[in-house]
Symmetry: C2
Subunit: 198 residues, 2 copies
DNA sequence: GATATATTTGAGTGATCGTTCAAAAATAAG
DNA sequence: CTTATTTTTGAACGATCACTCAAATATATC
């Protein structure tokens, strides 16, 4: 006994994400969103409450998707370390003009958001922390399989990888650096592989 | 035969830089600037033409200052590689709530700016390129003094260091990671020192 | 087909955006 | 002191901002 929404929520969120990712939170206006989502202001607000909440939800979608990509690569790899190295080499395969040439959306949000922001900054920091925890788990797995020494610190290794990825993907947002990014990714991947105790 | 301006241009630019760095280009309004600079709109526009040009000039001031800090550290160090390592350890000495806990302003601008932006993005990319050229020069100097092998690629090493710094400083913008940042910086610095051929 | 419920529309809200400009104020030179 | 030149002021501009809401529209259920 009611009308059903004309849109698929995840699909709409994907479009919002694309726009926010490209133009940033402040750089994206509601008029931009109306066009990209093909929705009128009333519908957008009925569905997502506010621009901020819409961004927040899009950011979470981004994190879920990114985590999925990492997990897939890890699952396909022979060892945890090899999976991580593969993941980084994949990040180095940049196609100009596509999402692959854009810095991490979490980083963009971290940098665009004031320290005190009670919503977007908190979400971004939490999701970044989640990602780092995943990396730490990978290194712990590598310890358990004897791939790396047990006297290494999985948390420190995780923050190092996190930082390397921050740098790599930020570097990738520069124009005309495609080859450089691939070489950089390979460099980083090799360093990770070298962690393996022979 | 005229009135003289009541402000010191560089001082004013420093205040604008501080604000833009903290809040971003889009996140900073002219009313914010009027307060921070203690100038009325007419004076601001007479002096800097537009918000965009003011940001552009503040960004250049940032780059000059940053380069100065790097050069100073390099000049004080025993070798090029040691200077670079010192510089990175300095970047790791983060004081929460101060500029040291903020990501690189050039990176922030790179990420906030659309690919096609004809002014701010271009300036940011050019200044980033300049920084990388400085790093390359350091590695070339290290080669000439025999500190690192001549079969290494100074440009590739420079982009790696650039990327590491991007990552480190972005990481430092997270809250409650002070110790982690210092450990991370030390890690990176040690890797650079390890490049030295015995 | 009538009813109840949910969604969509789009004109309109007040606030704030970056920017302008004529008038007022200040000062160096004669 | 007068004059010429420059800077500063701050009210006001049109445009755009995020957002609201009453009316129109659509549909599941009976």
């Amino acid at each position: 006994m009611a009308r059903q929404a004309a849109y698929d929520r995840t699909e709409v969120l994907g479009k919002a994400l694309e726009l926010f990712w490209a133009k940033g939170y402040h750089g994206t206006s509601l008029r931009d969103l109306e066009t990209a989502l093909d929705m009128r202001p009333g519908s957008i607000y009925a569905a997502f409450v506010s621009k901020e909440k819409l961004f927040d939800e899009a950011l979470r979608l981004y994190a879920v998707t990114s985590r999925g990509i990492l997990k897939d690569t890890l699952a396909r790899a022979a060892t945890p370390l090899a999976g991580l190295a593969d993941h980084i080499r994949n990040l180095g395969r940049v196609k100009p003009g596509t999402a692959s040439s854009r810095a991490c959306m979490l980083v963009k949000t971290l940098l665009e958001t004031p320290d005190e922001d009670p919503v977007l900054r908190r979400t971004a920091e939490r999701l970044i922390g989640d990602a780092e925890a995943t990396f730490a788990a990978v290194f712990r797995a590598a310890q358990e399989t004897g791939q790396i020494p047990t006297d290494t610190d999985p948390e420190l290794l995780a923050s190092r990888v996190q930082s390397e990825i921050f740098g790599l993907r930020t570097y990738a947002q520069r124009t005309d650096v495609v080859d450089r990014v691939a070489a950089l990714a390979d460099d980083i991947a090799r360093d990770i592989e070298r962690l393996a105790s022979v």
